[in-house]
């Protein structure tokens, strides 16, 4: 299953005609940490030769555009027609259409059937090559190659890791609200290659990736026993996580992948437990008469954010990984839930309910510096892109038949619908596919 789509990737750095620029003398750079960034005009030319080359450059341009940081220039405006992607382009032709960066490339089939894809990124105003790489892979992996090229361009220009070569697990929803069918599904981050992971017989909720992307933990009502499960993506094998005397829900992996943290419901209250996947031992971390749920580890594994209504309404709390030092960090108007620790470690994303609206926001890990990114009738369940720059969440508008996925930049700009075939909720962004 997933393994089949993994592939050996050979990366060769292409030195371009003595024109490789060191970062110091590159003119093209994008500081993406200063609020609303003006998108960088970039020309992504059709990769030579033929249909596949064009499809790859289309995906590269679409990734860059969706990030909100790049403005791919309409190909109709191009003056120079690239015929030899190894040679330096006529920089003047690109400067005059204000292309600050230029991408050229070529896709060819090797004798053994593999695909060879190569690209060069040019700084048109400096007249230099910024980077150049080539990849060998199976032809069916052409979309991944395109995402990897887009990641390389993003990283070279912004100085931060890209997030295009990633996937999303989510709950695909169909049917009327009163008889909604739900299936776990997985897709590329741009909505391509969607695939169901479970049948629609059982209610399934809140899938989350393991750090190595090979497993998903989720909640299922299989056999009318609502419990946390583990799904091996490669084999489709499923197992219940732990043998708890009640409903288990809201699972998430520890950053080392060795534990699943979740809530156990017993009578009226929910407490947070971990289960070690190797020793099968369970550890109780909270012990209140309240609803303690939605736990999320800090990326170093030392702390856990969670939500609790122990003080009345739901608020965000932080504790040590052993349950020590539990303290409330959210103090704004309304209630706060679904805390998710940023992969960078510096922020916690959340769902906020206030004044009849549902918002997605972020705060520092001590609760200060709250920023609301989007507000509306119902926004819920943020998940971070692995570079910590973009969040995905689900939204249901008033009067809508069901929820849909959206992404938004950490700055609160560039909100984008994520295409899915039907209704979708509970997105979880994969770690980077190394």
């Amino acid at each position: 299953m997933l393994r089949r789509t993994f592939f050996r990737l050979m990366v060769v750095i292409l030195a371009g005609c003595g024109l490789v620029a060191s970062p110091a003398n590159a003119l093209v750079e994008l500081n993406i940490n200063k609020g609303n960034v003006e998108p960088l005009p970039i020309a992504v030319t059709d990769f030579l030769q033929g249909e596949l080359g064009k499809k790859i450059s289309d995906v590269v341009a679409a990734d860059l555009k969706r990030s909100g940081l790049f403005a791919p220039i309409d190909r109709g405006a191009f003056i120079e027609k690239i015929s030899n992607p190894d040679a330096a382009p006529r920089f003047e032709d690109w400067k005059v259409i204000n292309a600050q960066a230029l991408v050229t490339g070529r896709v060819t089939q090797e004798a053994d059937g593999r695909l060879k894809a190569e690209f060069r990124l040019w700084d048109t105003f400096a007249g230099t090559q910024m980077t150049g790489q080539q990849f060998f892979t199976q032809p069916e992996n052409w979309r991944r190659v395109a995402h990897i090229i887009a990641d390389a361009i993003y990283e070279r220009i912004t100085g931060e890791k890209g997030y295009f070569d990633t996937r999303v697990v989510y709950v695909a929803e169909s049917g009327p609200k009163t008889a909604r069918k739900r299936q776990l599904a997985i897709m590329d981050q741009d909505g391509a290659n969607p695939r169901a992971l479970t049948n629609s017989n059982d209610l399934v909720l809140t899938p989350r990736f393991s750090p190595n992307r090979q497993e998903v933990t989720y909640m299922s009502f299989e056999n009318n026993q609502p419990r946390v499960y583990l799904l091996q993506l490669e084999t489709g094998q499923r197992e219940v996580v732990g043998n708890f005397p009640g409903m288990t829900f809201s699972p998430r992996f520890s950053p080392d992948g060795q534990r699943v943290i979740m809530s156990l419901q017993q009578e009226g209250n929910a407490n947070i437990y971990t289960m070690d996947l190797r020793s099968r031992t369970t550890t109780r971390l909270t012990s209140t008469a309240a609803i303690d749920t939605a736990p999320s580890y800090s990326p170093d594994g030392s702390q856990i954010a969670f939500e609790s209504d122990r003080g009345g309404r739901q608020q965000i709390y932080v504790m040590g990984a052993d349950g020590s030092g539990q303290r409330r960090i959210s103090f704004g108007d309304g209630s706060y839930s679904t805390p998710v620790w940023s992969p960078r470690g510096d922020l916690i994303a959340f769902t906020k309910q206030s004044g009849g609206k549902f918002s997605i926001g972020v705060m520092k890990t001590d609760g200060s510096g709250e920023r609301i990114l989007t507000t509306g009738f119902h926004n819920e369940g943020p998940t971070w892109a692995p570079n910590g720059r973009v969040l995905m969440f689900f939204r249901q508008n008033a009067g809508a038949g069901g929820p849909q996925l959206y992404s938004i930049d950490l700055t609160g700009y560039n909100e984008q619908a994520v295409p899915t075939q039907g209704f979708a909720s509970d997105p979880a962004w994969s770690p980077r596919l190394e």
Binding site: T178, P226, G246, M247, S263, Q265, N269, I291, A398
Partner: protein
């Protein structure tokens, strides 16, 4: 209050054989009265359950003549006075028909986050179960399950629906934990 005409007994029996149909009729009936305070919460008050419309001791009898569900205030798990009356009738019925085990299904409205609502539904099921135990139903006949906000019965974007979805439903048999 808007009155629902009592169907002819023969027709009622046809409907009564189909619990889905009953639930649908009840939902429509309740929705029709949503603007009133003290929502009727069982078919008896709506004039749906005439004598002889369901076999005594049957699922239909329980649903129609006793009332299988109670409603909660926002974020609340306390049993309201109107709900106590329903649960009292449930306890009496269960005492009369001791062969039934039941599952209490707890539900939340959609104005909350998924994880919290799963726990809130469980809390409502637990408080309902506790009340039934206090009225003499043996604990070993009672199971609970929570569906959170995932199984609404009323679909609209205002309180007239949300108030119907914040509920605990007592199901004969059922499959809780």
């Amino acid at each position: 209050m808007s009155r629902i005409d009592t169907p002819a007994a023969g027709r009622m029996q046809t409907i009564a054989r189909n619990p889905v149909m009953i639930a649908l009729v009840m939902t429509l009936a309740i929705a029709g009265c949503a603007s009133k305070k003290n929502l009727p919460n069982n078919a008896n008050e709506l004039g749906l359950g005439g004598a002889g419309s369901a076999t005594p001791g049957s699922q239909q009898d329980f649903t129609v003549n006793v009332g299988d569900r109670i409603f909660f205030d926002t974020d609340s798990t306390s049993i309201r006075a109107d709900a106590q009356q329903t649960l009292d009738r449930q306890a009496q019925w269960l005492a009369k028909y001791p062969n039934y085990a039941v599952t209490v299904e707890g539900h939340a409205d959609e104005r909350g986050t998924r994880e919290y609502n799963l726990a809130l539904g469980a809390r409502r099921a637990a408080s309902t179960k506790d009340y039934l135990i206090s009225r003499g139903v043996p604990a070993n006949r009672l199971k609970t399950i929570s569906y959170g906000k995932e199984k609404p019965v009323a679909v609209c974007d205002d309180i007239s629906c949300w108030s119907q979805n914040r509920r605990a439903v007592t199901v004969l048999g059922g499959a809780g934990m």
